[in-house]
């Protein structure tokens, strides 16, 4: 198992290298630069700035320098937040985003599994149709609609939760809900389908034929198998939560990395964008590995030696 994990991580290095390279050059292909303003700067000022940040070097040299710095853990200075290096910015924003995304993911898995299981056990009943309707609603309504509505109702109208900022656990409630709603919907649908199949499977029939209590059949024999597709979905879900948090972080005024992603891109803050791309790519790689290991843990048929 450990050697498998190490192999997978080593195998991810070329992938990451490719992503970094592609992002680096694509970013430079975009018109404009980090120091362009509405009124153009004086040519000498511009030249000085470019020289300070090494932008006067040929592109390939910039690339080599960037890679060299990266290997040493230096993501370079931000062009916009000039007091900070990119890895320092990420060190501030990333924990917040991970916390937010992690909570949303956990909530989505828990609530989604519960809803999906209940719907499957009551297949074709009013409860089932209710869950499907809510799930469809959750998938179709984008979170830039859900988030303001939540804000309006629970922060402004009822004043239960703060409207923005990060002060205590209360301020996480609304953003986590807004972020997890679509994922809850997807997980509920996945679990429902897999659970219906699992309940019809031969080994569940065996368990029933042997007089095992329903609770044991559902939780031990059906749910474990039904979890597998939802586990597979956790990889893409984690990536979606990290990148999808941009909108939610903006609306609730949370200092995660989402805002840097947007601002960095708009300002042609090359190093900042590169930094966020690398972080997201790493995140996806690691999460896919976690998902595969988790899958193997649950399903002995796919264990890796």
């Amino acid at each position: 198992m450990l050697s498998y994990a190490i192999r997978r991580l080593l195998g991810a290095i070329p992938t990451l290298f490719f992503i970094i390279t592609a992002a680096f050059f694509m970013m430079r292909l975009a018109p404009g630069g980090p120091f362009d303003q509405e009124r153009a700067l004086e040519a000498t000022v511009m030249a000085n700035l470019n020289a300070t940040f090494g932008l006067d070097e040929p592109l390939w040299k910039q690339y080599v320098i960037y890679l060299g710095n990266l290997v040493r853990g230096d993501m370079g200075p931000s062009f916009v937040y000039r007091d900070l290096k990119v890895h320092q910015i990420l060190a501030i924003g990333l924990p917040v985003s991970i916390k937010l995304g992690g909570m949303a993911l956990a909530l989505a898995m828990l609530v989604g599994s519960a809803l999906g299981s209940i719907a499957a056990l009551r297949q074709n009943s009013a409860v089932d149709y209710g869950v499907i309707a809510v799930a469809t609603f959750g998938i179709t309504i984008p979170n830039f609609v859900v988030a303001p509505v939540l804000l309006l109702v629970f922060a402004l109208y009822f004043d239960i939760f703060p409207a923005g900022g990060l002060n205590g656990w209360q301020s996480y409630v609304l953003p986590v809900i807004a972020l997890s709603l679509p994922q809850i919907a997807v997980v509920a649908r996945l679990i429902r389908g897999a659970m219906i199949e699992a309940l019809r499977s031969d080994h569940v029939r065996t368990a029933r034929a042997y007089g095992l209590p329903t609770r044991m059949i559902v939780i031990k024999h059906a749910l474990r198998a039904a979890c597998l597709p939802a586990i597979s979905y956790m990889g893409p879900a984690a990536a979606a939560l990290l990148t999808g948090s941009i909108v939610v972080e903006q609306i609730f005024g949370i200092p995660g990395i989402g805002r840097y992603f947007v601002q960095g891109a708009l300002n042609r803050d090359y190093t900042l964008v590169m930094g966020t791309v690398i972080v997201v790519a790493l995140f996806v790689v690691i999460f896919n590995l976690i998902v595969d290991l988790l899958y193997a843990l649950l399903d002995p048929r796919v264990r890796y030696d």
């Binding site: 192999r7 499977s201 080994h203 065996t206 029933r208 034929a209 031990k220 024999h221």
Partner: protein, 542 residues
């Protein structure tokens, strides 16, 4: 023992099972009564769709959600149909236990054998984990599983079908049941394994004294195994009586038909000097990857140097147990799998050809698969399925000509032309296999590889498919490679037989020679398990 025999363990009284479907209620069982005495072995025989399994499902409270049962099923006087779920759960798995047809899927793939075996012991017997594990080990020894300590920790996928069925039997015996319901327990197994499982059941019954209710479509098992027989047909009881009476003096045409459904006839060998159509020299197929930097060697040689020559008009029967490599050989000969060794079709070497290269031979080399349910696309009409090959191999055909060919192909396999607009799910297994054969013959191939084409079918339907294969072979001068584990079918269809085991041919020769004077012990075991089950079981019991 004597006093026990007078009282029925199970009494089924006028049971009716109905399923509510979109097309209205379906009456699967329409009033059937039967009983099982203590220590007795009773067989319920019938073809698929006769409702024999549904009676047991109803009795055990396992009907699908849209099914309901009326009548009464009394276990020692208690009606199971009206019993509260909790009370029913006290009986299921303790006093009445069940083993199923599908050993591959009846155990939970996610848990170790030991963990699954102790569940009924803990639930019904209230045993501690430790005590239950000790009992589970005893049970595995009882069902004669090799290396039982290790098997407790094994997962189902690490065991063979026969071993899994032994685990199911162990589970069934865990709480000393009064009645064991066995629903086609050996249908999915090889004949030799089937014989072993039946031997085991007979032996355990003699030792433990429980009653066995045996559901099967296979009369040969019944004769060797049961005291009394119920014959079912279309949800009704057709005939019942002691086994000797049913076999010696059947009262109904249906029972007589079932008894006569064993495939018969033989095929004359092809004339000396018939041209060789398809030839394989030293064919090998290997799966897996050799050891790498981080990985173990996972190579497995499925076919290990087999040579054969298929003459025009010939049928080569390839027999062997599951895992012997016979299907792999068939696929390799048609280059559906990469292989080593020479494969020559009518003078052209076809081994190593890629998909495009093989395309011009595909209309001459066709294949029919075992699973008549999985091998037809459920979203295409029968007409589209049968015509699909034409669109590849004869793309310039006019629509009228194509339709005419489809009609002819359907007629060739004994189906009505009007079926062309219907979908596969509307047909029975036998009809679907006819559709699959029509799809192959429409291209007028030289060679058809038939991979267990009759294995999923009832004996009576099997017989029809065999007749069909014979007829079109003569009509269109086809040559077959007929792959099957079913020796009776192979004997009826082939003129040359190859017996495979673990990737190699252990014996080959003209059919009569292989069947009458088998040279190897392996072939003799196969023959005995297939044709002489009764004496095999008697020998074990006596």
């Amino acid at each position: 023992m004597e006093s026990k025999v007078t009282q029925p363990v199970l009494e089924i009284d006028d049971i009716r099972v109905t399923f509510d479907t979109a097309d209205g209620p379906v009456n699967a069982v329409r009033g059937v009564s039967m009983h099982v005495m203590a220590g007795e072995t009773v067989a319920v025989v019938g073809e698929s769709g006769s409702g024999k399994s549904q009676i047991m499902m109803a009795a055990m409270g396992l009907l699908a959600g849209n099914g309901r049962a009326e009548g009464a099923v009394r276990y020692r006087g208690t009606d199971l149909l009206t019993l509260a779920p909790r009370a029913l759960n006290d009986l299921r798995g303790a006093k009445i236990t069940m083993i199923f047809q599908e050993p591959m899927t009846s155990l939970d793939p996610l848990y170790r054998i030991g963990d699954q075996l102790i569940e009924p012991l803990r639930v019904h017997g209230g045993l501690s984990v430790k005590a239950a594990m000790a009992r589970a080990l005893e049970l595995l020894k009882l069902v004669q599983i090799p290396n039982p300590e290790a098997k407790l920790r094994a997962y189902p996928h690490e065991m063979s079908g026969g071993q899994r069925q032994r685990v199911m039997i162990a589970m069934a015996l865990a709480n000393d049941p009064d009645l064991l319901i066995a629903d086609e327990p050996t249908t999915a197994l090889d004949v030799t394994i089937q014989a072993e499982i039946l031997e085991l059941l007979a032996e355990l019954q003699a030792r433990l004294g429980m009653s066995i209710l045996f559901i099967t479509h296979d009369l040969t098992i019944v004769e060797a195994f049961a005291d009394r027989v119920y014959v079912m047909r279309k949800g009704l009881l057709e005939e019942e009586g002691p086994t000797e009476a049913i076999f010696g003096n059947p009262q109904t045409d249906y029972t007589r038909m079932l008894l006569a459904a064993e495939p018969d006839g033989t095929k004359a060998p092809v004339a000396e000097g018939a041209p060789v159509l398809l030839q394989g020299d030293d064919v090998r197929v290997t799966f897996g990857t050799p050891a790498g930097l981080f990985s173990k060697d996972t190579t497995l040689t499925a076919v290990d140097g087999i040579s054969l020559a298929l003459h025009k008009g010939q049928t080569i029967g390839v027999v062997g147990e599951s895992g012997s490599g016979k299907s792999t050989l068939g696929r390799a000969l048609l280059q559906l799998l990469p292989s080593e060794g020479r494969i020559v079709y009518q003078g052209d070497r076809i081994d190593g050809l890629d998909r495009a290269g093989m395309r011009k031979y595909r209309d001459e080399l066709q294949m029919v698969f075992q699973d008549p349910y999985g091998s037809l696309s459920p979203r295409m009409t029968v007409g589209e399925i049968v015509a699909e090959g034409l669109s590849v191999h004869e793309p310039n055909l006019t629509r009228d000509l194509r339709n005419a060919k489809v009609s002819q192909a359907l007629k060739d396999v004994g189906l009505e032309e009007s079926f062309r607009n219907r979908f596969p799910h509307e047909f029975s297994g036998g009809q679907r296999q006819r559709i699959a054969i029509a799809r192959a013959v429409i291209l007028r191939p030289d060679v058809i590889v038939l991979d267990e084409p009759t294995s999923a079918l009832d004996r009576s339907v099997q017989k029809q498919v065999i007749e069909l294969l014979r007829r079109i072979q003569v009509e269109y001068g086809l040559s077959y490679i007929f792959i099957s584990h079913d020796l009776a079918v192979v004997r009826a269809l082939s003129d040359y037989v190859m017996v495979m085991k673990e990737g190699v041919v252990v014996e080959e020769g003209p059919t009569a020679q292989i069947f009458d004077t088998p040279a190897t012990a392996y072939t003799r075991d196969l023959m005995r398990a297939a044709f002489d089950l009764k004496s095999l079981l008697l020998e074990k019991a006596g």
